[in-house]
Symmetry: C2
Subunit: 197 residues, 2 copies
């Protein structure tokens, strides 16, 4: 079978470019023109390679979670409940302000800038959030069983506290908060964390 000329672009780097655009502008804010220009291809190629704007976003989101939000999984590996909380908050602060990629959180931005039409995108983001929360909850529950948290600790509340704060930081950084500032407020948030019993 005859093969056409090899891809003039690398699908992998093209997806990274797309991720960056989505990250900067959100789902609806990123137009196909911007995307194709950044990816170095044109619309029919994009359509052939990725199928759809929604599909493209989903793939970009996939890569985002696997490569950029790895800090959450690492944080959950911390040996103590407090360690988990610390790593989550500081890890988020560092990731959100990493100068090697756009500021803020793709999930946060994407969820906000996705209208009613792209329900599947919204669903995937919701699913993602739920998954992270489930894992955080399970990890803290285990820590509680291990005696690392007070017997009357409300694990749901602790989880929600962390996610609330992380999302707040994700918003702050869009409005210009620096890494140092995030670290300070994260430190303050940890004052609310229950002491080992």
């Amino acid at each position: 079978m005859a093969m056409g000329r090899p891809r003039a672009f690398c699908t992998d780097t093209a997806l990274n470019r797309a991720l960056e655009v989505f990250w900067r502008k959100g789902y609806e804010g990123a137009s196909l023109n911007e995307l194709t220009e950044a990816m170095g291809i044109n619309k029919p190629s994009l359509y052939a390679a990725f199928g759809n704007k929604e599909d493209l976003f989903r793939k970009a989101l996939d890569r985002y979670t696997k490569e950029k939000v790895a800090y959450i999984s690492e944080a959950l590996d911390a040996p103590t409940a407090r360690g988990v909380a610390e790593r989550l908050l500081f890890g988020a602060a560092d990731m959100l302000t990493d100068p090697s990629h756009p500021v803020g959180c793709l999930v946060t931005k994407g969820a906000m800038t996705c209208g009613d039409e792209a329900q599947s995108v919204r669903d995937q983001i919701e699913h993602l959030k739920a998954d992270y929360e489930t894992r955080m909850h399970a990890r803290l529950e285990q820590a509680k069983q291990d005696g690392q948290l007070p017997a009357d600790a409300d694990v749901v509340q602790l989880t929600q506290f962390l996610t609330t704060f992380i999302q707040g930081m994700s918003h702050q950084v869009v409005h210009g908060a620096t890494r140092a500032q995030l670290h300070k407020v994260a430190e303050m948030a940890l004052l609310a964390w229950p002491a080992r019993p």
Copy 2:
């Protein structure tokens, strides 16, 4: 001078309707069709009465801050620093989940769903945020002078902690958090608040 027939609609309620649409869908998410339909007028009337989509949003935002975000000003009137923090967090939790209007925060949503083109909208939101932060900062600084906060309290940090948390709650509520849940995490956040010296 001859007068045409009186307005068939009340500008005041029309603006309220517009506010509600913006509140639900964000700035870019709200199309002129939705707006005019909700307001009960058509596009030329809207243009004549409010000038512009940007102008309309600005006026809606004005009303929003004067009527819906009044809790911030009330909170700043609390007699103690802790009272200010409590009223801010619980006031935000209550406002964000008030069933009489769309969930979440117009400023938060609007800032996210406003692309590069509507720079003036973005500017106004930024200005609004800065204004609130300045007032919160000033109030806490005064509380510190009054001896309600430790002498080494970092007022900037305290302010940023509160805004971070409030924005986090504003995000949580969009994803289905209930008022009771927000109250619980707000209570937890207050554990980080410095004790009176």
